[in-house]
């Protein structure tokens, strides 16, 4: 049986790398944020995790913000606010 050569249909990625800062070693006194994707129970998950971070890591403040809905990106204003006020932000994703 003969052979044929076919092209790969998969798209290729071309991107510049952005360095992600390391997680802080000390969380004492820091402000953490939760970007709520509005899916059910993320608010409870964020609340429980925020409490743990206060009690066990000495986090000073927890900021909780909700996107408008689960299926569209957070507004630039919301992202800017969290970037300005928080040391680390936990962004809810998926379900």
């Amino acid at each position: 049986m003969g052979q044929i050569r076919v092209l790969n249909p998969i798209g290729v990625v071309k991107a510049q790398t952005v360095a992600v800062p390391s997680l802080p070693q000390s969380w004492s006194g820091r402000t953490v944020g939760f970007l709520d994707n509005t899916k059910s129970n993320f608010d409870r998950l964020a609340g429980d995790l925020g409490t743990m971070l206060r009690e066990r890591y000495g986090v000073a403040a927890v900021v909780h913000r909700r996107k408008a809905n689960a299926s569209t990106p957070a507004s630039p204003e919301l992202i800017a606010e969290l970037a300005k006020t928080c040391d680390v932000v936990f962004a809810g994703s998926a379900d």
Partner: protein, 415 residues
């Protein structure tokens, strides 16, 4: 994340599902997340957790496990395979390059014919969810695989451009648990010329242009965008419309002119068509009452994210003629559906997406449980097209609630 230039982003993955779980189960998931975070901080954890535990996924056999993004990109630019239809299907299936159906082998010759002189390296942008380059070559490869004729390529290009428009929210459409599929509604002489069908059975099956153009779009979303079922395409159940979803409008049968002027493709993120069966009405009001009742349900996504909610009404020619003969313009149809495709507030509060809804302040202020709430922001968000053949049937296509329809001109002669 890597495709957008962000590597090694820490991920905390908790057991799925989260929704519907009791507080103690949520607390357990918070503990899971905290332990992962602690490990990451201590340097003993990994940020490469991309396979969450999901007791509902049902994936068992290796052949049913979704491909990995890394495996995708590790594959060579070309492969040599036996020139046999079954061997070709096997090769593409085992690499998760196909949609489950036989494909046309994308040889360099066939891809070149599809490109028809266009610059293969030209990119239309990047496609979510994996943000891969949308080069004309890759679009042509997938169009060949789908069985498209080269003269279909301008329609595919216009449709992809439309999907990449921010208003369409392709990322949401690709990644959601909703079964949304991009429906292509093609207007103009070029579509008819290449065989696109808008008459009897237009939604399928039977018409090569409809079937292959719609299929090419799906293969592009799978292979270029990277949204594979269970991996980034998280549609809980999917839908037959995700195989292929493309029609021409039956402009000859429309009393009101085309949905869009000229050679145009409109891409609309919708559910499969919901049949509107009305064999008895002889008035516009009668038919449109049936349309409106079909258009609303507690399980529909339309209306929950209000600003992006849209409805598409595809009237069969006989229904359209009855409505028009009753003195209705297209604008009258839009207004009637806007005013009457509604559910009472009290019913919306029962379930569906209540509590997750994204409504403007005036809607949130409504207190009367009998108040009929609009599904879409305005009559202009009700699209009215005519398609199909003989028979007293129409269709409603609810949108996914987080994507707005986008139209683009078809350029048969290229850029």
């Amino acid at each position: 994340m890597g495709a957008q230039g962000v590597s090694a982003l820490p991920l905390l993955v908790v057991e799925h599902p989260l929704g519907g779980e009791r507080p103690e189960a949520i607390a357990r998931r918070a503990q899971q997340a905290f332990e992962q975070l602690h490990a990451l901080i201590a340097g003993s954890g990994t940020s490469d957790r991309t396979e969450p535990t999901d007791r509902a996924s049902g994936a068992t056999a290796a052949s049913n496990r979704p491909p990995t993004a890394e495996a995708d990109l590790a594959a060579p630019a070309t492969i040599d395979i036996p020139d046999d239809p079954i061997a070709i299907l096997d090769a593409f299936t085992e690499r998760n390059w196909a949609d489950g159906l036989p494909i046309i082998a994308p040889t360099a010759e066939r891809v070149s014919a599809m490109l028809d002189g266009r610059d293969a390296a030209k990119s239309l942008g990047i496609m979510p969810p994996l943000w891969r380059q949308v080069t004309l070559e890759k679009l042509a490869v997938n169009a060949v695989m789908a069985g498209c004729e080269p003269r279909a390529f301008p329609i595919i290009l216009a449709a992809v451009e439309a999907m990449l428009d921010r208003a369409f929210n392709l990322y949401g459409v690709q990644a959601t648990t909703h079964p949304v599929a991009p429906l292509l509604v093609v207007n103009g002489a070029y579509g008819r010329q290449i065989g696109l069908h808008g008459g009897s059975g237009c939604f399928g099956p039977g018409f090569r242009a409809n079937a292959t153009i719609g299929r090419a779009i799906r293969l592009i979303l799978l292979n270029v965008g990277g949204a594979w079922p269970g991996r980034y395409d998280m549609a809980t159940q999917g839908s037959p419309a995700k195989f292929s979803y493309c029609i021409a409008e039956n402009e000859a049968a429309s009393p009101w002119g085309p949905l869009a002027e000229g050679d145009t493709v409109t891409v609309y993120g919708g559910e499969p068509p919901h049949n509107v069966n009305d064999h008895v009405s002889t008035t516009a009001s009668g038919i449109l009452t049936t349309v409106c009742d079909t258009a609303v349900s507690l399980g529909s996504n339309v209306g929950w994210y209000f600003s992006q909610s849209q409805l598409l009404v595809v009237l069969g020619p006989e229904h359209a003629r009855t409505i028009a003969d009753d003195g209705f313009t297209r604008a009258d149809v839009q207004r009637f559906v806007y005013e009457h495709a509604r559910l009472p507030l009290g019913r919306l509060k029962l379930a569906g997406m209540w509590g997750m809804h994204d409504w403007p302040a005036w809607m949130n202020a409504v207190a009367d449980p009998e108040a009929l709430m609009p599904q879409v922001p305005s009559p202009d968000d009700v699209f009215v097209a005519v398609a199909g053949g003989s028979g007293k049937h129409s269709a409603v296509v609810p949108n996914c609630t987080f994507s707005r329809a986008v139209s683009r001109p078809i350029k048969p002669g290229g850029d």
